[in-house]
Amino acid sequence: MPYFGSEEMVKELKRALSNPNVQADRLRYKNYITKVIRYMTQGLDVSALFMDMVKASATVDIAQKKLVYLYMCTYASDKPDLALLAINTLRKDCADPNPMVRGLALRNMCNFRMPGMTEYIEQPIVAGLRDKASYVRRVAVLGCAKMHSLQPNTDIDGTIVNELYALLRDPDPVVVVNCLRALEEILKDEGGVVINKPIAHHLLNRMKDLDSWAQSEVLTFLLRYRPRSDDELFDILSLLDSFLQSAHAHVAVATLRLFLQLASAHPAVQADALLCTSAPLLATCGAASRELRFAGLCHVQQVMRSQPGLFGTHYKRFFCGYSEPTYIKFRKMEILVELVNDENVALVLEELRSYCTDVSPELAQAAIAAIGRIAQTYSEKCLDILTGLLALKQDHITSAVIQMFRDLVWFCPQSTAAVCQTVEACVDSPQDSEQALLWLLGEHGDQISSAPYVMEGYIDGLKTELSSAVKMELLTASVKMFLCRPAETQDMLGRLLHYCIEEESDVCVRDRALLCYRLLQRGVEETRKVVTGPKSDPSMSVLTGRQEEPISQWASTFNTLGPLSGCDLCPQTAVISAADQPSSSAEKELLPESTDVTLSSPDDTEEEISLSLGPPLSHETFEKMWLDLEILQRQTMGFPRPRTALDTLQAALQLVKIQTLAFTPGATVPWKAYIYTRSTGTLILAELLQGDQHAPGIDESLVVSVKQQPVNQHAIRGFVSILKGVLQTLNVDSS
């Protein structure tokens, strides 16, 4: 309602506020002022009333003063000339005997955002810094920061900075913390407030007087302090020990972050700190506030990246409550999968099984995917459950199960027989798992007796098929099937090729069909060489499984928004899709023009980072950029460079769209290579290095340094995992 006839409303208010009868009646007057603020909050422009509100500020009623000040702060920038009128009142209030009035006036005066304000507020602020009342000092200290932000480009006033540093010794804890905050803002360009040894120790000694908000903030400031010696370090840690168990989660977590950072050279201390904090962290995972719960879960996930065993005994805490929102359930399932071990596998699977029939299809599919991941270790038990789910005959469940089967066969070849037996039963696969089913039929057609008949069904229904991806998969699968069961397949393969070449409108499908046709023309043996790749890749499950990361990998983002905002995704999705890319080398020769390299990829649903080559970079440009840019990520791969010939490496990288610029020949030490690629608008440069003289301990392992312009963390992670996948695959091949 305030949006309509707003001008009328403002006029009416103006009339009322200037009515002497109303002004005489304090209660009525205040009611009208309240009304003005209400409209202001609702988004109505009431700046026309500024003059009347300035008049209203001259009152003894503090509640009314507060309302008027709120109004003034909002509109001062629109009416700078009128706001000057209010300053007199405010300056008078700054000298009021009541500290509350003094503080209030000073705070609001500093909040006026208009040019030329500095000259009016400087004197009251300096006086406020020396005020007897701590309330006024608090306001004055932050006032310094506000004053600086009004004129961000002027020189820093040395006397104020010195005064603020001196006020760090103030008896009032809030003044101390406000000093830190103000100094941080004022000295932002110089790297923020300096925490030297006396200041750090002073802050540590004051920790007990602070309230929890100040505690967690001081702990964050202390992150930039480096103790000089181990003795000092351990003194600090023992002082902070009790805060690890604080009843306030934010204090406990901030303390943990400081511990992890300070004790980065003492893994045992880090482990102890993590153990201590596991109780408060678990408590947040069960907190009444679901937002807090979510934050707790995200941080538990982060801790588990280095210490997967820490929460092992508490796995029941991560069972989903039925009324919890889906985003919490997803996180809990991700954690449960990581926590599975020999003792609890039966219980966890039973729990996950009960989510599979959930009303929400997304949740059900996520639960099935979770079982699928556990199946990579405990295949037998999981296969029983997955097979049982097929009996429900619900599309979203069946499709998720078939996709899991495909991944399972790829990762654990020992389960192939059991899967093939089950797949026999489900011939009518729902929409989105057709590709997975076709892949299974093509790859293991020799073990599925009904495979040709299922395939025939698809070929007969080809005219109604819309997805070209399914058609391509069908082509590949039929050719593979033809190789192992020629008699049953020959006829339908002919029909399929004929249709795809003669009638298909999609160029990709047609090209693929032509390729198959020409391959077959060159003979069966030739075709077999090209089409059949590896049937499974057990080494991949090691890669996607639990590796313990060093704590330093995530400690810098711990207790920030990073883990919550979802940019901290697990890298494995990218690893899977990237590592499938380098198919057999013969295929590469035959498919130079093909844009799609995932011919025999069992993976199509995962999200991919798309890399592209783009125009080539000259050596000079690369060198210049390399010298200009900062290193964004440096990562030790944990394995040496592939022993294959260098041109194989180059070709493999080319295949995943990574261009090699230069590398040192053969067996020279240190060995270096410079590579680059493009991805969604950014250019990624990287250096591979083995045998660095500066880091003698790890000379066997390959180190990757990545630079990028412009920065896009998501792309970097994708790039590193793709690179890792390629190198790993080459390593496996050559060994």
């Binding site: 603020i37 209400r38 909050t41 609702q42 988004g43 503090i62 509640a63 507060k66 309302l67 709120l70 909040n111 006026f112 040019p115 608090r138 932050l142 920061a145 932000s149 961000p152 913390v177 406000n178 905050r181 929890s212 100040a214 967690s216 903030e217 964050t220 009843a247 934010h250 408590a283 947040t284 069960g286 907190a287 506030s289 937002e291 807090l292 934050a295 029941k316 805490r317 069972f319 989903c320 409550g321 039925y322 009324s323 919890e324 929102p325 985003y327 219980l347 039973e350 009960s354 029939t357 009303v359 929400s360 997304e362 009996a391 429900l392 207790n559 920030t560 928004l561 919550l564 905002s565």
Partner: protein, 450 residues
């Protein structure tokens, strides 16, 4: 560092809006009031499985992060351009909501609307320039001038306190459940004489019972919460069960001991008598605060409150009969609702319930039938028989029935057995003060597999 704080109603109306860095608008040219609308569009566009807690709005200069919590049906949002601790912001927003509840009496769109001046005043003292200054009621109460406006709809229940001849019934031993929902600061109002203090023991129970009635998971999250209306704070002594033991190692030989796995206390609690006498000493400040949090995992000292004996048969229909038994004899369960999943495509249902106040309905959209019992007396046993008509019934459909989930509220009962032995205020306290101790157990998640 917080840039803005705002409170929105569920329909997106702006109730409270405070921009701490508006002074920078001239120089940096962003973070104007439009960000509220941006936030509301983002939060309403989210699908169920996306994470709403932290959202990023890409600005031209620097990304703006929205962090929000939902309390009382409202969005409590903070926006920031830095990368602060999510725990701090979330706990601060929760605290803001709690303080609002303390000062306004209850938490709803209406109470926030009516008391917006008061909330602005609170925010002004709590946060300056985006930095949290204080959230303690003891400090805040010196600065807050505005009085709360509480809305009390006329209710027949209020009359139940009035005796036969219009006099208040002093004998009433039970505080009405609405007694604690009034503003803490209405000192000059008509309730000035009521110096009340409420000590609540609140437990949240999450239980999974396996298909053969085996207790698979049990977990209690408990807290002792004080809601204090005393104008001046004086020391209060809260005595807990003397035989309370903490931690797994301290378990005593006899089984009657009340045990919790771990507990954490508010930093103002003095624990010098806790180790020997299990006495907490605290000077409660006005308003609500949590004095002690505790948890107990995997070992319920009593039987789980509800036992369900389900049977599912396939006939022409799916027939499921449920026999529900409430094991606690001295308590009453309120608002019990039981959700039984049914196969997809269920069309209709017929029911036989054991008493008339129960209701049951089929919700085909949620693939579930909902059985509700408003009031469940202790030690009682209820049964229900449902016949669900599912076209195209197969034996696999039975797999879709279950697990059953329940939600309920137990009054006057804690599952851990934690009790408050006594509640003493320091003798210096003058005037009449009424002390109330209340126990309540909520079901966080109560699942029974079939």
């Amino acid at each position: 560092m917080i840039s803005q704080i705002f409170i929105l109603s569920s329909k997106g109306d702006h109730l409270i809006y405070k921009d701490y860095h508006i002074i920078m608008k001239h120089f940096r040219g962003e973070a104007s009031k439009d960000s509220i609308n941006v936030f509301y569009e983002m939060v309403t566009a989210l699908s169920g499985d996306q994470t709403p807690v932290v959202m990023v709005h890409l600005c031209s200069h620097k990304d703006l992060h929205f962090i929000h919590v939902r309390q009382g049906g409202l969005y409590w949002v903070a926006s920031t351009k830095t990368n602060p601790s999510p725990f701090t912001i979330i706990e601060f927003l929760n605290r803001l909501a709690a303080l609002t509840k303390d000062y306004c009496g209850s938490l709803s769109e209406k109470s926030v609307r009516m008391n917006f001046a008061l909330i602005y005043e609170l925010l002004d003292e709590m946060v300056d320039f985006g930095y949290i200054q204080t959230t303690s009621t003891d400090i805040l109460k010196n600065f807050i001038q505005t009085e709360a406006v509480s809305s009390k709809p006329f209710s027949l229940f209020d009359l139940s306190n009035v005796g036969l001849f219009g006099a208040e019934t002093q004998q009433s031993k039970v505080a009405p459940s609405v007694a604690a929902s009034r503003p803490i600061m209405s000192s000059r109002g008509e309730q000035s004489g009521k110096n009340e203090i409420f000590v609540d023991v609140i437990e949240r129970l999450s239980v999974v019972i396996g298909s053969k009635g085996v207790l698979m998971k049990s977990d209690i999250q408990g807290e002792i919460r004080i809601k204090c209306f005393l104008p001046t704070s004086s020391e209060m002594r809260i005595g807990l069960n003397e035989e309370l033991s903490i931690g797994k190692s301290q378990q005593k030989g006899y089984s009657s001991a009340v045990r919790v796995d771990e507990c954490r206390f508010h930093q103002a609690v003095k624990l010098d008598e806790f180790d020997t006498f299990r006495i907490l000493k605290v000077c409660p400040s006005q308003g609500e605060q949590t004095v002690m949090q505790y948890q107990l995992c995997d070992e319920l000292p009593c039987a789980p409150p509800f036992q369900l004996f389900p049977s599912v048969q396939k006939d022409y229909y799916i027939v499921t009969s449920q026999l529900l038994f409430f094991t606690f004899s001295c308590s009453t369960a309120l608002n019990v609702s039981i959700t039984v999943p049914v196969p997809k495509g269920s069309v209709s249902m017929s029911q036989e319930l054991s008493s008339p106040d129960q209701t049951a309905e089929l919700q085909p959209k949620n693939k579930a039938l909902l059985w509700e019992i408003p009031r469940f007396p202790g030690g009682a046993q209820l049964s229900a028989l449902f016949k669900v008509d599912v076209p195209g019934l197969s034996s696999a459909s039975l797999l879709e029935v279950g697990p059953v989930s329940m939600s309920f509220e137990l009054a006057k009962q804690t599952c851990s057995g934690l009790q408050i032995r006594f509640l003493r205020l320091a003798p210096t306290q003058t005037g009449l003060s009424q002390r109330w101790v209340r126990y309540v157990t909520h079901s966080d998640s109560y699942t029974i597999r079939i």
